[in-house]
């Protein structure tokens, strides 16, 4: 928790100068794409505004963002395009706002996914976190609203959490800007590959379930060797997700193997 002691340094303009540069909607020639995901009303849009300098309307109620918002920032000379996804409780249901989030994570292939969680409701938020872990490897967990948690007598140990999850965890309070600098730095580290995440994999008690997933993952590996999120695709196949079945049949799924911006744009146009 030394980060909190640094508080004054973090807010000092000298400290930030030259590091974080807010680019607003100037999104040309970006080096990395960052997705912002999380449960509704955890402060995603506030984090988005703080990073980009934009002023997306924020409101204290779940479901305020139903479409994607995009912006950009620059850090250590690298340009990051950041996409604020609608808040969702899970990635398994069918409402239009959840599809926007899921399709972007799956087909948009962001370089880093920042999952914003509400510290006061960690357990419930982790349900979504674990689902996102199935889709992508490069994750930064933004443990937001720590002030509110503190006020309610809840202490979340970010180091234990990070160890458990295998991804970096940054405590923040985006409303007052606390932790944003660390968050930016960590996004940079994960995007450039300096920090390699080893996300926790869900374990099920059902052997039958685990075995089925494994079998399909192996088949997928033969057919689409570059597909990055085979476990998730296997899960969806077992569930009978028609979209996924179609994209396998057409071979479209094999196209999303590279992390290049052109692939990203192609995938975006499909959404």
């Amino acid at each position: 928790m030394t980060k909190i002691e640094n508080h004054n340094c973090v807010n000092c303009p000298v400290h930030n100068a030259g590091n974080l540069k807010k680019l607003g909607i100037n999104m040309e020639n970006f080096d990395f794409v960052v997705a912002l995901a999380g449960n509704p009303n955890t402060g995603k849009s506030t984090v988005f505004n703080t990073l980009t300098g934009l002023r997306q309307h924020t409101g204290n109620w779940p479901g305020k963002t139903v479409t994607r918002a995009e912006g950009a920032f620059e850090y250590e000379g690298k340009k990051f395009k950041i996409v604020d996804l609608p808040g969702t409780y899970s990635l398994l249901s069918t409402s239009a706002d959840e599809e926007v989030a899921r399709d972007f994570l799956l087909f948009g292939q962001p370089d880093v996914t920042v999952i914003v969680v509400d510290s006061t409701r960690l357990e419930r938020n982790l349900n979504l976190v674990l689902q996102i872990f199935e889709i992508t490897d490069r994750i930064v967990l933004c443990l937001n609203l720590i002030d509110e948690a503190k006020r309610n007598g809840i202490y979340v140990d970010d180091r234990i959490l990070s160890k458990q999850l295998g991804v970096p965890v940054i405590p923040t309070n985006a409303r007052s800007g606390i932790g944003i600098d660390e968050l930016t730095k960590m996004i940079f580290e994960v995007a450039t590959g300096n920090y390699v995440c080893k996300p926790f994999r869900m374990k099920s008690d059902s052997q039958e379930f685990n075995k089925s997933i494994e079998e399909i993952v192996n088949l997928l590996a033969e057919e689409f060797p570059y597909l990055p999120n085979k476990r998730w695709v296997a899960l969806r196949l077992l569930e009978g997700d028609q979209n996924i079945i179609n994209s396998i049949r057409s071979g479209e799924l094999g196209n999303i193997k590279l992390n290049s911006p052109t692939k990203l744009i192609e995938a975006e146009n499909k959404i």
Binding site: N39, P40, N41, R55, H57, T58, G59, N60, W61, P62, G63, V66, T67, L92, S93, T94, S95, D97, T120, L122, E123, R124, L126, N127, V129, L130, E148, N152, G153, I154, Y155, V156, D157, D158, L161, Q164, L165, R175, F200, M202, K203, S204, D205, S206, E208, F209, S212, E215, I216, L219, E223, L235, L237, L238, E239, G240, I245, I248, R249, G251
Partner: protein
């Protein structure tokens, strides 16, 4: 070919395994997610013993969402917001009008005349475009600048989801989705935004109901109309010190009527064209957060007030020119506007309205914001502009609500006209932006047409009934 067969192999394997695992795959998956999440959270979280978490929140929620007090508290909150808006916008409105209309208008007009501009051009630009814009600014800006920040403060505090919680039971009884209450709340800001926000509803059936009924939430463009007309005609009934309360009560009545209509129409649709199951949902009540006053003032000013005002101005200038044109182009010595008004008046009489109001609603299809300025300009041009102005489609010296009242009354407006205008403002077609949004969201001309015409039909029925009852009683 081998490629295709490899793909098919995956699909058939998955199909086979799906049968083996059986129906409880989803449950197994969710179970393991919950189990894992619980284990991880338990290791990372420690609770302090000092006070139970969320104690204040729980107490507040017990009161604000209570079965008996929830609804009355909601209405009182609304009442306070309207009352502050009505009381607060009176003076700045007249100040703006006196500067923009009384002082600047003749100045600009004289300046143009001194440059010997052709009369029709200065008429079109100054008496049309400038005046209607000036009117929109002075009528709309003060109520918006007070109403939106207050509304945003309630939103920031976390009250909106509580409203949804209170209304949920009602909406479910009407066969609609509980989240429809949230989309309705969004519609109070802007119906186009409200229609987009229905994406939070999973079931297509319930989403369609929410889209069709969103228009029953009074939007940005209609609040000022309601507030102004209520102030003139309802507030005018009361002694001066009670006028604000009377007017606020009238606006609340219309708001509640809108909610009632959304419930009745939802119920009607569920029983007829959109039958189906009601889906369950869980609504997370966010914690109360102390609103950030300054930031809220800033964002509500930029996001809402300036945005809406800009939209109003963009539409008001061309509308102003259109008004000037229809008031000045004559056929058989009578202006186009008067032809229409005279033609429609007998029909409008049945609904306790008049031709001016109908014409104004046609001109104002792109933006509800310009209804009142359009009505005023058309009324003045129709009156032949005795003491108020100096040419068709021109408006002068209306620097207070009293003057506005005077002009409306002198052209035959009564309490009935006021009431019916308020009703018709609630029950008429959505603005063109909203109509386009509905089409984009539903991809169906049929449902877009239903959403457009259903409110008009309802509006005509309601104003007709009110008028007939009014005549019977008097």
């Amino acid at each position: 070919m081998s490629e295709t067969s490899g793909r098919e192999r995956i699909i058939s394997k998955a199909n086979k395994l799906r049968w083996e695992i059986g129906e409880n795959l989803y449950d197994t998956l969710m179970e393991s997610i919950y189990q894992n999440a619980k284990e991880i959270a338990e290791k990372a979280i420690t609770f302090s013993d000092k006070k139970p978490p969320f104690s204040l929140d729980r107490t507040l929620d017990k009161i604000l969402t209570s079965k008996y007090f929830g609804l009355p508290i909601m209405l009182i909150m609304l009442a306070i917001v309207f009352w502050l808006t009505i009381e607060g916008s009176n003076y700045p409105s007249s100040l703006l009008a006196s500067v923009l209309v009384d002082y600047l208008h003749p100045l600009i007009k004289n300046f143009f005349n001194s440059l010997s501009f052709p009369l029709w051009l200065s008429g079109l630009l100054i008496d049309g475009a400038y005046l209607s814009t000036a009117w929109v600014v002075s009528v709309m800006l003060p109520p918006m600048a007070i109403f939106f920040p207050l509304f945003t403060l309630l939103e920031d505090f976390g009250y909106l989801p509580r409203v949804a919680f209170i209304m949920d039971a009602l909406y479910r009884k009407a066969g609609a989705h509980g989240k429809q209450a949230l989309t309705m709340a969004m519609g109070f800001g802007c119906n186009a935004a409200g229609v987009i926000s229905t994406r939070i509803i999973d079931s297509p059936r319930e989403r369609l109901i929410a889209i069709i009924t969103n228009n029953f939430s009074l939007c940005n463009g209609r609040w000022p109309t309601q507030i102004l007309i209520a102030t003139i005609f309802i507030g005018g009934l009361a002694p001066a010190y009670l006028a604000g309360i009377y007017s606020a009560a009238a606006v609340i009545f219309i708001t509640v009527l809108g909610i009632a209509f959304s419930l009745v129409v939802s119920l009607f649709l569920t029983k007829t064209f959109l039958k189906g199951e009601i889906s369950a949902f869980s609504l997370e009540l966010p914690p109360y957060r102390p609103p950030r006053i300054l930031q809220t003032l800033y964002t509500s000013l930029i996001d809402r007030t300036i945005f809406v005002l800009w939209r109003a101005i963009v539409f008001a200038a061309p509308a102003g020119m259109l008004i000037w044109l229809v008031s000045n182009i004559t056929v058989n010595d009578i202006s186009l506007a008067n032809h229409f008004i005279k033609f429609v008046n007998p029909f409008a009489f049945w609904f306790g309205l008049n031709g001016v109001i109908f014409l104004a609603y046609i001109i104002a299809i792109p933006a509800n914001e310009i209804v009142i300025p359009t009505i005023l300009m058309l009324t003045v041009s129709q009156l032949g502009l005795n003491q108020f102005g100096a040419g068709s489609g021109v408006l002068f010296e209306l620097d207070s609500i009293e003057d506005t009242a005077q002009i409306l009354v002198s052209s035959g407006w009564t309490l009935l006209t006021g009431i019916n205008l308020m009703l018709f403002s609630l029950l008429h077609n959505p603005c063109s932006t909203t109509i386009y949004t509905i089409y984009k969201e539903t991809k169906s001309w049929k449902w877009t047409a239903v959403s457009t015409f259903l409110p008009i039909v309802l509006g005509l029925i309601v104003t007709f009934l009110v008028t007939q009852i009014f005549y019977l009683v008097n």
